[in-house]
Amino acid sequence: MSKFAKKKSGELPAVSTASLPDIVFMLLFFFMTVTVMKNSDVKVENTLPNASEIKKLEKKDRVITIYVGAPTREFQKVFGTESKIQLNDKFADAGEVGDYILMERAKKPQELQNVLTTSLKVDKNANMGLIADIKLELRKVNALKVNYTTYEGDAFNNLK
């Protein structure tokens, strides 16, 4: 009989916190995997247009990115409001695109140098003139594979 009486008088056991580190590590790993590392700040307005017939850009190591758009507010005083090209971390002219591509290409391993794609992240309000200049530069350095990076969506939203 005394066996049962004892249980009633006992205090509640403390919840074990031994697994807390595991949970924390789990969260850590989760965030580590879903975070995409950005190696450059985008200094231009970059609202990409929408398109529905898109293809995924697999294999991140084979992509060179060029940003185009109007400078963001903090840079407008210096660079104005006209659309600009951003290569890595700085603004550039269309003429510098070719050199940039060659430089980036040289950084990649030999076997990837012929399969690189240039991803053009262009703000939807940019003018085509600048894009035409970039395209000409890309053709000069024989970087012919381009990807007009867009969001997935109805293409007719671009016209609004």
Binding site: K6, K7, S9, G10, E11, P13, A14, S16, A18, S19, D22, I23, F25, M26, F29, F30, T33, V34, V36, P49, N50, A51, S52, E53, I54, K55, K56, L57, E58, K59, K60, V63, S119, L120, K124, N125, A126, N127, M128, G129, I131, A132, K135, L136, L138, R139, K140, N142, A143, L144, K145, V146, N147, Y148, T149, T150, A155, F156, N158, L159
Partner: protein
């Protein structure tokens, strides 16, 4: 000897296992966000050595002006009609050699067959990029619609889904091999000949 302490402590040894199970679940289900967009090939800068003579009727000329208006084959059209227009052009089947074209009007003033049809896209320097992408999207869409239709007929699945599976890294090599064959077959039926000529300047210079 009877126990003096209260209730025994809950065994937390398996908590770590549960945590790892969750971790692995998230690892497997989360896909890292990838960029997507319209893939295009630019023409090489050196002109081809042999001049190719292309008949005027095999070219579908699309012009976008600086206000975003669209001129297709000499007609002012709405953007939303572009896809059907382009499809009709590709499938026109003027010389009757295309046995898989379904709605071919056989208009003698339009393209001979899908393998000869070329869409040429021209834009102004002041055209908005958004408009340009919409037009590109519609033209690529026209090709994709036709390819999907043929692919459904021959292989019972859309072309675009085959292509998406093909470029995925996880797809095993044996499946890729098989897909590649089908993809090439469809691409030969409707080759994507979308030319991007140099931009014309609006100043008339």
């Amino acid at each position: 000897m009877p126990r003096r302490a209260g209730a025994p402590e809950v065994n937390a040894g398996s908590m770590a296992d549960i945590a790892f199970l969750l971790l692995i679940f998230f690892l497997v289900t989360t896909t890292i966000e990838t960029d997507a967009g319209l893939d295009r090939m630019l023409p090489p800068i050196e002109p081809p050595e042999t001049d190719v003579v292309i008949k005027e009727k095999n070219i579908f000329q699309v012009n976008i002006n600086k206000n975003g208006q669209l001129l297709a084959d000499g007609e002012l059209i709405e953007l939303k009609d572009l896809r059907t227009k382009a499809m009709a052009f590709l499938e026109n089947n003027g010389d009757g050699s295309c046995n898989y074209c379904q709605s071919g009007k056989k208009d003698p003033a339009s393209s001979d067959n899908p393998t000869k049809a070329i869409i040429s896209l021209k834009n102004d320097r002041e055209t908005k990029y958004g408009t340009y992408i919409t037009v590109q999207n519609e033209l690529v869409g026209a090709y994709n619609d036709l390819r999907d239709r043929e692919s459904e007929r021959l292989y019972k699945r859309p072309f675009t889904s085959m292509e998406a599976e093909y470029i995925k890294q996880e797809t095993p090599a044996s499946v890729k091999e098989e897909l590649k064959e089908k993809i090439t077959k469809i691409q030969e039926m409707f080759p994507q000949k979308l030319s991007e000529a140099e931009t014309s300047s609006s100043g008339g210079s």
